[in-house]
């Protein structure tokens, strides 16, 4: 780990100014669960850490419109246990609880979770090429081990996946990220934060240097919608997703799909919003057949690599099951 200076930011403006003005080696420090890991490996080598975990972005606030504003420094464990989140946004609570371990959730912040980096083994090993770590050096995963890599939206340059569970739920919920930067504050609706790799896989997100995530805003939850997060992994717990799904479902009076919102984890460089499937489902009866059709339409875009074709049927099966569970839940709730 390279020597670095440490500063505790007392207010956001100063922190942003530090990172924006002439400190190219500076990085923000949140909970550190990913950054410190990467610093030990030499993957990240900041010369200055600006600790933003003590900024007053540590509250979960109800908004007048019924939405929820979550400070970027709120801990994953706190958010997962938040009563409003559990009642109105169960998909988010479940996604957080499906991630990492109790100890890591007690350190990790919401902002940091959004910005965590891929766990691709080539990215994590500085003795090997990786376009994300060293642009232009190559992508050994494409021909090497890629069982748990992307099947959709990847590029010649990069086949990595985004590791977050929480971000998948936020994408399905249509959350908005609040960012402050050199040019002031702005909002980024999800899934617009995370990029597909294209020919610049070194950039995970659309953020500019110095940009600081200050909050995540959830829109009001639709009264009739039900939601859940389901994660498939090799180990029963404490493992990254092979495939995961965050889904919200709202049925109309006839039991047909009024609206479905679906996002996948483990399939792409970013949480993958399944817009094709959502569109396909609108107005269809809430049956396994409809759900399978929608999944097939979405996954028609998939371009699996040599050894990860299994993710296509896995994602399909998971979609059919999860939406089926949600439809049953919605039926129960409506008393039909």
């Amino acid at each position: 780990m390279r020597p670095f200076a440490y500063e505790r930011a007392e207010e956001a403006a100063g922190a942003i100014a530090t990172l924006t003005d002439g400190a190219p080696g500076a990085m923000y420090l949140g909970g550190g669960t990913n950054l410190v890991d990467l610093m030990k490996l030499g993957v990240a080598a900041p010369d200055l850490l600006v600790d933003v975990s003590h900024l007053p972005h540590d509250r979960v606030e109800q908004l007048p419109d019924g939405g929820l504003r979550i400070g970027a420094a709120v801990l994953n464990s706190t958010l997962a246990a938040d009563r409003t989140v559990r009642e109105r946004y169960p998909v988010l609570s479940q996604a957080l609880l499906a991630g990492a371990s109790g100890q890591l959730r007690n350190l990790a912040t919401v902002g940091g979770n959004l910005l965590q980096r891929t766990r691709c083994a080539y990215f994590m090993d500085v003795s090997k090429p990786c376009n994300k770590r060293v642009p232009g050096s190559g992508c050994p995963a494409r021909e090497g081990d890629h069982r748990n890599h992307a099947i959709i939206g990847h590029s010649e340059a990069c086949v990595a996946t985004h590791p977050s569970d929480m971000a998948v739920a936020l994408v399905a919920l249509g959350a908005t990220v609040e960012v402050r930067g050199a040019a002031g504050a702005r909002t980024i609706p999800l899934p617009g934060l995370h990029r597909l790799p294209g020919d610049a896989p070194e950039r995970d997100t659309v953020l500019d240097p110095g940009d600081l995530i200050t909050a995540v805003v959830l829109p009001p939850s639709a009264p009739g919608a039900v939601s859940r997060y389901r994660k498939i992994r090799d180990r029963a717990s404490y493992a990254f997703a092979v495939v995961s799904i965050a889904a919200l479902l709202e049925l109309d009076e006839d039991g047909a799909v009024r609206e479905a919102r679906i996002a996948f984890g483990g399939l792409a460089h970013a949480p993958w919003r399944a817009l094709v499937a959502e569109e396909e489902l609108r107005g269809l009866p809430a049956t396994a057949e409809s759900f399978g059709r929608a999944a097939d339409a979405e996954l028609a875009q998939a371009r699996p690599l040599r050894d990860n074709g299994f993710k296509v049927p896995l994602a399909r099966n998971l979609t059919v099951r999860t939406l089926g569970e949600l439809a049953a839940q919605a039926e129960r709730r409506s008393g039909r």
Partner: protein
């Protein structure tokens, strides 16, 4: 190289330290304070052997930069027993259930269980909790499945899981 002066209160005792900014809380405890109860099993937050309580919450001390926690209160395995030597109930239960073999993951398992039972008492759900809305305020109501999920951040290569779960359930008051 950059150093920072910080104060840590560990097991009730105050320590003023001048630390290389790169020093993890785990290495500060082990190499500077000679508190070697917290173990280094992976140094990357992947095993849980380094678990301590940081301001009351269980965390992986290997991923915590010590300088980022100036003023923090830390409880390690060395601080769980009473000053008169009486063991914490979880320590007693681990001995009685033979809930360890080599003992290397044990301090982390016990500190994690202390934190986990407090989380359950505060009503926190887990990913296997059926009803997210109902508070699980009674640790005694934790099923084996709940304990297993909540403790999964602590690996044990000797395979003492089958004895750790009943040891924790005993202390939770289930049996």
């Amino acid at each position: 190289m950059p150093t920072n002066d910080i104060t840590l209160t560990v097991n009730g005792e105050r320590h003023d330290l001048s630390l290389d900014t790169r020093t993890s809380l785990l290495d500060a405890l082990r190499e500077r304070l000679d508190l070697t109860g917290a173990k280094k099993g992976c140094d990357h937050g992947q095993c849980g052997a380094c678990t301590v309580l940081l301001d009351g919450r269980r965390v992986n001390s290997c991923l915590v930069l010590a300088v980022a926690h100036d003023g923090a209160e830390i409880t390690t395995i060395e601080g769980l027993a009473e000053p008169d030597g009486e063991l914490h109930p979880l320590q007693t239960a681990f001995v009685e259930h033979d809930a360890f073999q080599c003992g290397y993951c044990t301090p982390g398992q016990i500190c994690s269980a202390v934190g986990m039972l407090a989380e359950a008492a505060a009503g926190w759900p887990s990913v296997v909790t059926e009803d997210l809305v109902a508070d699980a305020t009674d640790p005694a109501a934790l099923s084996d499945g709940e304990i297993r999920e909540r403790m999964s951040g602590n690996l044990c290569r000797c395979g003492a899981y089958a004895h750790i779960v009943p040891a924790i359930a005993d202390v939770a008051g289930r049996r």
